[in-house]
């Protein structure tokens, strides 16, 4: 037995055989070239390919709910298009008449050395990013097949260092833990491990050199310990510890299947926000009580043609089958605008796409090609079943009436075509526009439910672009200005016997949950991963106490004050 001590990078215990990983290095050949322009063109071709691959990797993480981690690969794309790096590479190709791989490697090494020389842990990690991007481009240029890994059974990955794209490309089900000889807390491998819930130890001296493939290994991501070839006593005690933690997680997950009531017996529905059919399986596993927001954009974006009615109906029916009929499954009709234009529908450029033709506005403008096929597909899939549909970006009652009129018309057409109407049908609207929130009492009689999209509601209420980093101090959904609007919406729904839910980020925020149920919302919809915790929070509160903090929050000056108050309740 041998114990190595490193730094803890991601908590948890992993026990299993070692998979010794070596990053693939492109076989670099240096040669002189005749035609610099052609060589530069070859480089540009490789760059394009790599950028597409990186974009896909970012999307994979996004679809796993790891959007912050997806940022890493957006940063990699920025490196791949860096003007200084490309200029320097181009100059070397022209002056020295060397091949693109050699030029790129030389140009990048200048930057890597500069960053390393600054002796800053963060910048050293960025040097690793550059190396990773350059390696990818070189592999592309050499025409080598990019072998992500040959990891074929559950193992603990041990490596000298891991490139971010290596970490993300491992088949998740086979990675029990990560153990890295170098690396840093701010390195992407560590960040990714944490986000994926994989135990990890970094800066464990010599591990990649001393430990052999297949050795039995224990890593303790909380203590930063790595035990190779453990004695049976060690193995037994760590196995017991491992089982205990597993059980705790399972208890939370099983409890997630139980009904959700506050201590004084009020039920609250904890539902999931989903982006595609894969998410639906995850939500079902987390015991989501339905789906408060089923996005439908994935059927439309990045596609040259619009999906037809039959294709859409098949997808909607598949999702309905996965989620079952016990709880509401709310489909949101297409929500795009000028910032994410559809390839199939020409949209003139807009100065302010977020104030432009988007959401329901766009669907009503192109009702024949967008609204009609989607509503008819939803009605077909929901024929003789339960169907919940909501419209995004609603501002005025005129839009609601227009949409409902078309809806009825499509339903009549389908009845003639032989599709019976849904067994239970609810049509609701999203509340994201402050004007609609203020007018909720007038809108309530027209709809069956409200779903508050807190991300956009916050951005429009605070007049602050949510992607504008320098305005992030305005963009907290717990701003009393936003809470007052939410309160108005909940009140209007309750007064008219309708239900109101939340489907923005705020719904899964542990500090916001008590306030939101105290304001009288019936349903909170969130990222599936947040569901077990959210249910526990609801169970630990009484409605009386929740109302009290909600009232206090409405009377506060700022989101900061609200968060200060809630800190006392969140561990």
């Amino acid at each position: 037995m041998k114990i190595y001590t490193g730094k803890p990078a991601s908590p948890g215990i992993a026990i299993g055989p070692v998979f010794l990983f070596k990053s693939q290095i492109a076989t670099l050949k240096t040669y002189t070239i005749e035609d610099p322009a052609a060589e530069y063109q070859r480089l540009e071709g490789a760059l394009e390919k790599v950028k597409v691959d990186l974009g896909k990797l970012a999307k994979k993480l996004d679809s796993e709910g790891l959007s912050a981690e997806a940022e890493i690969f957006h940063a990699h794309i920025a490196i791949a298009e860096d003007p200084e790096l490309l200029e320097a590479t181009k100059a070397l190709i022209e002056e020295k008449k060397v091949n693109a791989e050699t030029a790129l490697t030389e140009a990048s090494s200048t930057f890597i050395e500069m960053l390393k020389a600054l002796e800053d842990e963060y910048l050293a990690a960025r040097a690793a990013d550059i190396a990773d991007v350059v390696r990818k481009i070189n592999i592309e240029l050499c025409g080598d097949e990019y072998a992500s890994s040959s990891l074929t059974k559950p193992s603990i990955v041990v490596a000298e260092d891991l490139m971010p794209s290596d970490t993300a490309a491992f088949p998740r089900e086979f990675v029990l833990g990560l153990c890295i000889e170098f690396g840093s807390i701010t390195s992407h491998a560590a960040i990714l491990a944490k986000a994926m819930g994989i135990p990890a130890v970094i800066q464990a001296p010599m591990v990649a050199h001393k430990i052999e493939n297949g050795t039995m290994l224990i890593i303790d991501g909380k203590k930063g310990e790595v035990i190779a070839d453990p004695t049976s006593e060690y193995l037994t005690s760590y196995r017991a510890e491992f089982d205990k933690r597993k059980q705790l997680e399972e208890v939370l997950l099983t409890r997630s299947a139980l009904p959700v009531r506050t201590k004084d017996g009020h039920t609250v529905q904890i539902a999931a926000n989903l982006g595609n059919a894969t998410d639906a399986r995850k939500a079902a596993a987390m015991h989501a009580q339905g789906v408060g927001l089923m996005r439908t954009e994935f059927l439309f974006l990045d596609k040259p043609d619009l999906p037809d009615e039959t294709q859409q109906a098949a997808t909607y029916a598949e999702i309905m089958d996965i989620m079952g009929q016990e709880y509401p499954l709310v489909f949101r009709t297409l929500d795009v605008g000028g910032d994410k234009p559809l390839q199939a529908v020409a949209q003139p450029a807009e100065m302010n796409p977020f104030l432009g033709v988007r959401g329901l506005r766009l669907c009503l403008l192109h009702d024949e090609v967008l609204f009609k096929p989607q509503i008819k597909a939803l009605l077909k899939a929901g024929s003789a079943r339960n169907l919940f549909v909501m419209f995004p970006m609603v501002t005025s009652i005129v839009e609601v009436r227009a949409a409902k009129k078309l809806f009825r018309q499509y339903m009549d057409e389908l009845t003639l075509e032989g599709f019976p109407p849904p067994a239970h049908l609810e049509v609701g609207i999203m509340i994201e526009v402050p004007g609609a929130a203020v007018m909720a009492d007038k809108l309530a009689p027209e709809v069956d439910f409200f779903s508050i999209g807190t991300n956009d509601l916050t951005q429009y209420t605070q007049a602050a672009d949510r992607n504008q980093t320098s305005l992030s101090y305005l963009s907290d959904g717990l701003e009393p200005a936003v809470l007052r609007l939410i309160s108005k919406v909940a009140e209007a729904a309750n007064a008219h016997g309708k239900w109101a839910g939340i489907c923005g980020e705020l719904g899964g925020d542990p500090m916001a949950i008590p306030i939101l149920i105290g304001l009288g919302l019936h349903e909170l919809s969130m990222n599936p991963n947040a569901i077990p915790d959210a249910k526990e929070i609801v169970r630990n509160w009484t409605m009386e106490k929740a109302r009290e903090v909600a009232l206090n929050a409405l009377d506060m000056e700022s989101a900061e004050q609200v968060r200060d108050m809630m800190k006392a309740y969140v561990d």
Partner: protein
Amino acid sequence: MEKKTVTITNKEGLHARPASVFVKEAGKFKSKITLLKHGGKEGNAKSILSLLSLGIDSGSTVDISTDGEDEVLAAEALFNLIEGFNKDSK
């Protein structure tokens, strides 16, 4: 040619997200834009690698120089962006 001088006071300095936001913003302008770190080196504001290698930590003072048809707008926008980062971290 326009020049503005600003001190970075936000915790992270011009690293990580602020750096990539800065480069993205700089890329929107046609002018040639350089950053000179006082007591340090000069770099291309449109290049993330160049910017990072300047090592602009919290407390650094930089000159933003812009040269081109939209130089006034560019200098103003980038100056405001840094001021925004500074305010953000308070």
